[in-house]
Symmetry: C2
Subunit: 203 residues, 2 copies
């Protein structure tokens, strides 16, 4: 009675992994159960539907990533350094998926959002929620940069959303082209988008 989530956690992790590698529609409940070594009956004991499992997996995935993001966006670091480190992180992460899968997988939130936003409202809403959390990291970094006079003033929230759009777009383009190039000069693009005063930006 105390397998301490065990099966449930394995289902969450496996589901996100498989969906990331292919797509929601291409992964069946049986696939997930097989790989997670959990019987289908157990699956439906924990989750009322495939869509519900997916929403839960998105949240679990975020929780797993948050510590890394907290570290990257630590307010102890100079604000532009945070953005630079995030750029490096994105590039490195995709470099790894390219190495291990031969494919650039992009971001799971992107795959799910693009595929299901028009069909599964709960999944769309969860994706939107997580997008909002990402934007918050950018927002505070930008606000700090503005306070230091390194970045043009203006609505930090809007600027953060634009920056996030650029990331999402670059990731999607990298996935479609199956090349890392769109991710390589992200840092420079970001500086232009934020109108960074380059002379003062040498941190």
């Amino acid at each position: 009675m105390r397998p301490e989530c065990e099966s449930k956690c394995r289902l969450l992790r496996t589901a996100m992994e498989l969906i990331w590698e292919s797509s929601y529609g291409a992964v069946s409940v049986d696939d997930i159960c097989r790989k997670a070594e959990v019987k289908k009956g157990s699956f439906y004991h924990f989750f009322p539907s495939k869509a519900d499992l997916t929403v839960a997996a998105m949240e679990a995935d975020w929780k797993a990533k948050q510590p890394d993001l907290d570290a990257i966006f630590s307010p102890q670091l100079p604000p532009l350094k945070r953005l630079e480190r995030y750029c490096q992180n994105v590039l490195e992460c995709q470099r790894q998926t390219l190495a291990t899968h031969g494919k650039i997988l992009g971001c799971p939130m992107m795959t799910l959002g693009a595929e299901l936003s028009t069909q599964e409202e709960t999944i769309r809403a969860k994706a939107a929620e997580i997008v909002g959390r990402y934007v918050r990291y950018f927002e505070s970094a930008i606000r700090d940069a503005q306070a230091e006079g390194i970045v043009a003033s203006g609505d930090a929230r809007e600027a953060a959303e634009r920056v996030f759009s650029l990331f999402q777009g670059a990731l999607l383009q990298a996935k479609i082209l199956n090349e890392l190039t769109p991710l390589e000069d992200l840092h420079k693009s970001l500086h232009r988008l934020l109108e960074v005063r380059e002379e003062t930006a040498v941190t």
Copy 2:
């Protein structure tokens, strides 16, 4: 013997329409046939598989859009005006899908690329091809702007790819949030990304 494509064309149009509204995985061959009023036997007379139909539909969709794009990006227009008109076009297009479907559908190339790039190589390749064609419009506009000294010099191709990433990202974010806001200030973001000299940019 000369229904002049008729059924085939209807299949191509219907397929793209349905996939755009939901996704590749969520649309069945039967769905497409039913809506196109074509029997499944005929479907497989024209196309060897669902994936092949999709690739053909992507190409047909591009061919249908090209005249509009040619007009928007006419070299007769000032280069920045072309980009501005494209921004307006994107916003207007999504405003319409929001009005008619209650959902922002984004760009079909995005939906397909994000969903299938890791699974169906032929579809990924076609998406990449079409991305390349879009980038060409931006590239020549940017090059013309550089020649006029309105835009910072540098690799026009790379700049065009960055601009296209921004568009893709904004569209994806709009789809996930189901809001038009990410598309509304695209024009300004674009100017920052290209380092437009604002004083001379008044066309």
